[in-house]
Symmetry: C2
Subunit: 247 residues, 2 copies
Amino acid sequence: MTYCLAAQVDEGLVFASDSRTHAGVDDVSTYRKMHIFEWPGERLLVMLSAGNLATTQAVLRALQRDIDDDGEESLARLETLDAAAAYLGRISVSCQASAAEAAGERSQVSLEATFILGGQIGDQAPAIHLVYPQGNFITVAGEQPFIQIGETQYGKPILDRMIRPGLSLQRAGICALVSLDSTMRSNLSVGPPVDLLLYPRDDLTAACHHRLAAEDPYWLSLRQAWGEGLGRAFDTLPALPGDGISE
Amino acid sequence: MTYCLAAQVDEGLVFASDSRTHAGVDDVSTYRKMHIFEWPGERLLVMLSAGNLATTQAVLRALQRDIDDDGEESLARLETLDAAAAYLGRISVSCQASAAEAAGERSQVSLEATFILGGQIGDQAPAIHLVYPQGNFITVAGEQPFIQIGETQYGKPILDRMIRPGLSLQRAGICALVSLDSTMRSNLSVGPPVDLLLYPRDDLTAACHHRLAAEDPYWLSLRQAWGEGLGRAFDTLPALPGDGISE
């Protein structure tokens, strides 16, 4: 499985993803799930992917082919992020249909894939979209401005509590790492290394990209600090009233 | 939906459950999901239920009928917790089969139910079992001795971190409440009031039962203290190294 998330705060965008892919517990691999399309100073698009790995790789090849062909319809040329999300949806549906046709009716494997596409084009506002396997999409908005794909539940409570538009970009990135850490502790199908991209609004580059391996010193210090902080928070919770059971 | 959990520590057992039941967002109700069968000084059995509400109520009626009939096979008479879990499994499968027959082949509604059954019989060791819809069961054991049913993922990280055999019964109960709080914040289908039963080993009563409504002062103070503690833990996490993005 997979866990990817993106968040939008006033200062910019955060993208984070794990790297574990598996088809059964004896077929575990590491694949990058964060894909960066960067034209510095002009546009930055970041795609996070979850679902069938063959589908997501076919989609990536199609996106790159359209960029290389330099036609009107590509991530390099489409004029808005909305248009790019709709285009990604069409590519995804088309790749799933081709794979389903090749597989034949007897295949039981899901060929679906889900994507997060975000970034900024020129002087337009930054945005994050969630592209469904059906090809349609939604845009993140509101008081809890984040989107998750894959194994989303374990890491959701910390995002629900912390991610707000006014949170600093740096803190939003740390929150994304904590969410990934909680997920990796509770679900073996999500694993390191972790990709983290902090995108400061109007920067139009992917300069602040971190790739954190399992033994990365910062990652280890973050995990330890969070575990200790949780322990302290837990230790100071009030005792249950009047049940006669001592601490 | 539902969220119930049970944990076993050296000092005893913890049972906790929410009370929300729904069949669509416009059909939300409150039903107790913790069912206590108590013969003080002799035996205590606690059942937590998740799944189809008609099935769980049919199972409850069958269990009560067997107790009232005072036959060999009932929660009052079966000699071990293992035997009680196997018996509950048979009752559950039988109730599901009856309901499926009545519903006919065209029904698409899942009639399945999952149960946690735990407690202590006489001077035997306390134990917790998870009874699957198929009627078979597993027993909690090991270094992370807890079992969850229903919406299990949101509240799992805190249990993974905190529940250990040496944790005090009081602290294990508080951990169960925190796990429920995280789940209720992230998933509207899980809601108050919350039932919490702390069972001290060899007590053979259900004396330490708490029912916490949404506005219960202890519940509110616990939620506030946990939120503040998490905030402090988050605020003290180390900054990302050298990316030039300020706090």
